[in-house]
């Protein structure tokens, strides 16, 4: 019974690790340890991904992540980074509204440079 469970967990492993119990058992234990560790690191990775996306989205409007978040905190807007990154991807007008609010609250970086506007085919390139 235990062997069957091990082989079920060992699906997709490389070489003998999916077929031979002695090797599979080791590999499955390692896999489970990695998943335990990575459930914790996933939270960190996701947050840094969201921050990257918010950074990119707000820089399109000439505000970097730093000043954007500071402005939001000043205005007591409690949207978290996950939602902000989703808005920056799918709801650009709402995100622009948030960036404007943040800029009014905290002007910040005056030297921010908007990226040059791309026209025509260069939008895709």
């Amino acid at each position: 019974m235990n062997k069957d469970k091990i082989f079920k967990l060992a699906k997709g492993f490389r070489g003998r690790a999916k077929n031979c119990i002695r090797i599979a058992r080791e590999r499955v234990e390692k896999a489970l340890q990695y998943s335990y560790r990575d459930r914790r690191t996933k939270k960190r990775d996701m947050r840094s991904l969201w921050i990257e996306r918010i950074n990119a989205g707000s820089r399109l409007h000439g505000v970097n992540y730093n000043n954007f978040m500071h402005g939001l905190m000043k205005e007591n807007i409690q949207l978290n980074r996950k939602v902000l990154s989703e808005l920056s991807m799918h709801e650009p007008y709402s995100f622009k509204a948030l960036v404007d609010i943040s800029q009014n609250a905290f002007p910040g970086n005056k030297k921010a440079v908007l990226p040059p506007r791309k026209e025509g085919i260069s939008v895709v390139l």
């Binding site: 340890q33 459930r39 996950k82 709801e91 650009p92 007008y93 709402s94 609010i101």
Partner: protein, 209 residues
Amino acid sequence: MASATLAFFSSSFTPTATLSLKHKSSAPKTTLSFSNFGFLSPHSLTLSSRRSPSPLPKSSESEPSVIEVESSEPNSEALQVVEEPPPELPKREEIFAVVMIGSRQYIVFPGRYIYTQRLKGADVNDKIILNRVLLVGTKTSTYIGKPVVPNAAVHAVVEEQGLNPKVMVFKYKKKKNYRRNIGHRQPNTRIRITGITGYQDSPAVTLDS
């Protein structure tokens, strides 16, 4: 970065509303919630993960009826029996809200479901009002709350109180003969959002487009 600029220029509200019909029969939904987030799921996957297969019977009905109509043209009886592909689903208001439940924030659309932490004391088919609404967005304006949109409420119905899929918690220390294997299923609640109300009076940021 090119894809980010593309998304900025081309996305608007209507594509998301029409996409909802296509994605009805998508893969089993992974929720947006923290604990169940698909690892490094790309942008497109998060989009489809939010689309719940809510009226799944409707989408499956429409496909066989279309096929039958095409194949049985000479047979008038079958045409009369098989109904026309059902008309478009009743027009959903194109609106979304960001709601905070159990210290997690969810982007919420009427007619779709979300998985949240188990709500104690809520039975199946209970009507629920969520009043911690942080942002409401419609097609033309956005109501941003500081922190909450005043008087806004999201109405929802509790559908099911279940458990998350099992995670194996395996603890192991090498060379010390220590190994513990524990399975864990976190209780959750599935709620279906019925409507978003009460935001009309709040200060809004309105589009000119």
